[in-house]
């Protein structure tokens, strides 16, 4: 089952190309902009390098768009006539859903790794404790894939779920000041650091880079909690499409 779903999702070459090349292109453009020092925008967080901040920002943003991997696949399977065929088999529908989610997590994480490696090679971005950074990125992927599935089961429509995810991805990227700075207000500060899963992941990764254990905990623990809650919610929500 997992092998089949890996193969099936893996063949979405256009999707993978967009989720890998687009962030790389945007990373390159933004790196260039900030390296020329022509734009007086302060994007450094304490003393974290610009390429690192940008890599984290774009990797996290495109993980949200990458939740379309599971959204589209689950929609094809459970919001179409295929649902009847699958439910007529003795296979557990929940196992099918888990298989889709697991393979989407694997592929989305691999996409993230490609972006990070690209940044490390081309822009010489340095990540302290890379393994820990990758672990947080993996956790973020898990949250985003679960969130995508949750939105799909709530909306019961792939187009609506895609639209919500796209808007969510754009707004959260704006909240972490990826494209432009926000006013110096407390609410924006909170949004940037703590109030969205993306900002929590970003806070945790910056905490790892700067050896700030408090930031790591503040970022990771709520993310784990969100992942657990979403996982638990999947069961009753999936009934909306299974039954």
């Amino acid at each position: 089952m997992i092998k089949f779903h890996l193969l099936r999702n893996g063949r979405d070459f256009i999707g993978h190309a967009i989720l890998i090349f687009l962030p790389i292109v945007l990373l390159s453009i933004f790196n260039y902009i900030y390296s020329t020092n022509l734009f007086p925008i302060e994007v450094m967080v304490d003393s974290v390098e610009i390429p690192v901040i940008l890599t984290i920002g774009f990797a996290l943003t495109f993980q949200i768009y990458g939740s379309a991997l599971s959204t589209e696949t689950l929609a094809q399977d459970f919001l179409s006539p295929m649902r009847d065929r699958l439910l007529a088999t003795p296979a557990s529908p929940r196992k099918l859903i888990m298989s889709v989610l697991l393979t989407s997590i694997i592929l989305s994480f691999l996409q993230t790794v490609v972006i990070v490696i690209f940044s490390m090679i081309i822009f010489e971005a340095r990540f302290e404790s890379l393994w820990a950074v990758l672990l947080v990125l993996l956790l973020s992927v898990i949250v985003n894939q679960l969130l995508g599935a949750t939105i799909l089961f709530l909306a019961k429509d792939a187009k609506t779920a895609d639209a919500i995810t796209t808007v969510y991805g754009t707004m959260t990227a704006i909240c972490i000041e990826l494209y432009f700075p926000l006013p110096d207000l407390r609410i924006f500060e909170l949004l940037k650091k703590y109030l969205t899963p993306m900002s929590l992941a970003r806070t945790a990764i910056i905490g790892i880079i700067k050896n700030n254990f408090q930031d790591i905990l503040i970022g990771v623990l709520p993310l784990i909690l969100i992942a657990v809650i979403l996982f638990i919610l999947l069961r009753p929500l999936s009934k909306k499409v299974i039954i």
């Binding site: 256009i14 945007l26 022509l38 609506t160 494209y179 006013p183």
Partner: protein, 225 residues
């Protein structure tokens, strides 16, 4: 008139359209920083307008993928009538968007823009260009999801390097001269011209946007089943 009304009705029936066309663009108003005295949101709005035009033109792609276009073609309606009605409907919606945004800019930013009439015309002509661009883009695809996926990437990068979603000033002159070829470039260019009161430059931006609109419309109007 039937096709025009159908296109309007279809466009307003999608909740996503209402969100992206009539709610989200106004977030651009509140982007706090200014570039050379001009609120950056006026330029960033161009990104929303482009995506709005794309969402509206979805109907044309869906007619093709559902083979409804074949049914329509066998009716006593010319292809020109069909396309023209749809495009006019989309343009009307974007004109409404532009008008509301311009009014909102006036009330929020006040006299920062010297001439709101010229601004509205600029947005109108930019909308003609974005609709034509979306039509041309979609004419190459049979499936909307692939079209949208690729469009997201290309449009984002195009807006980025043409000064719509990042100020043009961050790019060196050598790059600025090259990005003039992008149709979206002429929105921020026109905005700067309006702000500086250079009418000749404003009219030049209008003409370029119209020309782009015409070329893209011609390319996108080719009948494809």
């Amino acid at each position: 008139m039937i096709l025009f009304k159908h296109a309007l009705k279809h466009s307003f029936a999608q909740p996503v359209n209402i969100l992206v066309i009539f709610i989200l663009p106004f977030a651009a108003l509140f982007i706090p920083f200014e570039v050379g005295g001009l609120p950056f949101g006026l330029s960033f709005y161009g990104l929303f307008n482009l995506f709005s035009a794309f969402l509206l033109s979805r109907l044309i792609v869906e007619d093709r993928s559902n083979k409804i276009i074949i049914r329509i073609s066998s009716a006593p309606i010319s292809y020109f009538q069909y396309l023209g009605s749809y495009l006019l409907a989309f343009l009307l919606i974007l004109v409404i968007q532009n008008t509301i945004f311009t009014l909102a800019t006036y009330f929020y930013w006040g006299d920062v823009v010297l001439n709101y009439g010229l601004l509205l015309i600029l947005y109108l002509l930019y909308s003609i260009m974005t609709i034509s661009f979306s039509l041309c883009w979609n004419s190459f695809f049979r499936a909307y999801n692939i079209s949208f996926a690729l469009f997201t990437g290309v449009a984002s990068v195009m807006c980025l390097i043409s000064g719509v979603s990042i100020p043009l000033q961050v790019f060196p002159g050598s790059i600025r001269s090259k990005v003039m070829i992008l149709p979206t470039y002429w929105l921020p260019s026109g905005l700067v011209a309006i702000y500086n009161g250079k009418i000749i430059d404003v009219i030049f931006s209008y003409i370029v946007l119209l020309v782009y609109g015409g070329i893209l419309l011609l390319l996108g109007s080719k009948r494809r089943y």
